[in-house]
């Protein structure tokens, strides 16, 4: 069991100097968060709430101004394969076919060609794209690309998957199918996951916990346990879950929590 920990993490961009300069811009303030490898923590917030900054900190693309981020007690000092990122616009390499994209992290590790191709093929089968290995990236649909992106992240054998709105660019029908897919693949992999999303529905469906991030400065204002992902993993249809009264009630509650920050600002 691995644990990703944010302890008192703040992120501040220094003031722009000179005339018309602004004060220090505090993006995230005093974030405390723990994610275990059997969890999928959904972070929800409106745009500008710093949720992508939070993910970039976990990935190691950004360094916190104060506080510490650790994985199993070891401080995060930069990006690494133990925290693989899945991007909203896939960030796949167009010069590689689907198979070699998935094999990319293995190539970085120095795994021999034949072995990494075999492992990539196994991953392709796992994400339901067994026949798509030779396809070029631009020949794949948005949903297929995200499957390749997720398979590529899994090939790195990460302890945590950092999902930066991976389903944000997909159409509604594909998105529903991918939500179910994402839950299963995450459960199989045994990796913990942080999911950034601005869809309340998606956060509730996929998250074991949902954390609300309020803007200016970004801070965690609420946290709720959501058990719906277990139901879906046990075979409940996504549509049925969404139609249940308890889901609707939690959806309304969560909407209220997100907008609470807004009223506070207006007051």
């Amino acid at each position: 069991m691995s644990i990703l920990t944010f302890r008192n993490v703040s992120l501040t961009y220094p003031a722009r100097t000179g005339r018309g300069g602004t004060g220090d811009k505090c993006v995230l303030d005093g974030i405390n968060l723990q994610v275990a490898s059997d969890e999928l923590v959904a972070i929800i917030g409106r745009s500008g709430s710093g949720k992508t900054s939070l993910l970039n900190l976990a990935a190691g693309f950004l360094t916190p101004t104060s506080g510490t981020i650790t994985v199993d007690g070891a401080p995060v000092t930069g990006p690494g394969a133990d925290r693989a990122v899945v991007f909203q616009d896939d960030a796949l390499y167009p010069w590689l076919d689907a198979r070699d994209n998935i094999a990319f992290p293995l190539k970085l590790k120095g795994v021999p060609l034949a072995e990494r191709r075999a492992r990539a093929d196994a991953l392709l089968a796992r994400v339901g794209l067994a026949d798509a290995g030779d396809r070029r990236i631009w020949e794949l649909s948005g949903g297929m690309r995200q499957r390749v992106g997720i398979a590529r992240a899994l090939a790195a054998e990460p302890r945590f998957l950092l999902l930066d709105e991976p389903l944000g660019a997909l159409d509604a029908l594909t998105r529903t199918r991918m939500q179910d897919f994402l839950l299963r693949i995450k459960a199989e992999s045994g990796a913990g996951a942080v999911l950034i999303t601005h869809s309340i529905e998606e956060a509730l469906l996929l998250g074991t916990r949902v954390v609300v991030l309020a803007p200016n400065p970004g801070r965690l204002t609420a946290e709720i346990e959501a058990g719906f992902n277990a139901e879906i993993l046990n075979g409940a249809a996504v549509a049925d879950v969404k139609a249940s009264p308890i889901f609707k009630r939690m959806h309304a509650g969560l909407t209220g929590l997100i907008h609470a920050g807004e009223e506070e600002l207006a007051a």
Binding site: A59, R83, V85, A91, Y93, A155
Partner: protein, 278 residues
């Protein structure tokens, strides 16, 4: 990478607006063929009626015969193939040299502030200079042999290779780099596995432009100082007023330039089919 200043004519639009016009517009290729035909025709007429002295303008037939003789017998101790061979050896020698120097230099400019500081002024100095301006200096330095010609051609090719490499490197997507880092890539691996491959389309375009520039420089350099090569052949022929050889040489130069461009485009399409799908 294809620049087009003309929009394709839309036959449907034409029909909508001018229903009376039933015929399709004449294809551009046909217009071009006609133009070439007319020029050749005028040339033939001018020489047939001796409007211009054959010393200045030999007939098309004479030029074809000259071309044939060039291929089988040659001119100034070498056949056409040997002259072309000498020229192509120079240009590809120079191309290899400028790729070996230009790509690392472009990488340095594109990835490092210090590299840019050192190399930028050199490239900016070299780029606008006409190669023939420094040819005499190069001859003083490295002599009249092959080395001087290859050096001058390579120098004329270098800026476009360096600049296109650095432009390609700077255009690398930040997300592509971040993805690699989060998948375990070190600094070196980011460079070799992400930055270089994504700069390849830009580098190939640079090489194509460099080939064009190099070919121009080559012919000019051979006109000034050489004992073989297609430019030398023209220069010698001009000294003896063998105008048919001069014209043949010009035609050969143009055909080779077109052929090189075609090959370069073919390689681009083969090597980087993804460039148009970014």
């Amino acid at each position: 990478m294809i620049l087009s200043t003309e929009l394709d004519v839309l036959p449907i639009d034409a029909k909508d607006t001018e229903p009376a016009r039933a015929t399709r517009p004449i294809p551009t290729a046909l217009i071009s063929t006609l133009t070439v035909g007319v020029i050749l025709g005028l040339w033939g007429l001018a020489s047939a009626y001796a409007l211009v002295s054959p010393v200045f303008l030999p007939s098309p037939r004479q030029v074809v015969i000259a071309l044939y003789n060039l291929v089988v017998k040659g001119f100034v101790d070498a056949t056409l193939a040997e002259h072309v061979g000498a020229s192509l050896t120079r240009i590809f020698g120079a191309l290899i040299a400028s790729i070996i120097i230009g790509i690392p230099a472009g990488l340095a400019i594109g990835t490092s502030r210090v590299g840019r500081g050192i190399l930028d002024p050199i490239v900016e100095f070299l780029r606008p200079l006409p190669p023939l301006a420094y040819l005499p200096l190069v001859i003083i330095w490295v002599g009249i042999g092959e080395a001087s010609k290859i050096t001058v051609i390579a120098l004329s090719m270098l800026p476009s290779i360096i600049l296109s490499t650095s432009a390609g490197v700077r255009a690398v997507s930040k997300e592509h780099i971040n993805a690699a880092r989060s998948l375990g890539a070190g600094k070196r691996q980011v460079l070799t596995e992400v930055v270089l491959p994504s700069a390849v389309p830009s580098i190939l375009t640079g090489i194509r432009i460099a080939l064009g520039a190099g070919w121009t420089t080559l012919v000019a350099a051979e006109l000034v100082a050489a004992t073989s090569g297609i430019g030398f052949m023209i220069q010698s022929a001009a000294q003896f007023l063998v105008t048919d050889i001069v014209i043949s040489g010009i035609i050969v130069i143009a055909l080779i330039a077109i052929f090189l461009e075609y090959i370069a485009r073919l390689i681009e399409r083969r090597l980087v089919p993804w460039a148009s799908h970014r």
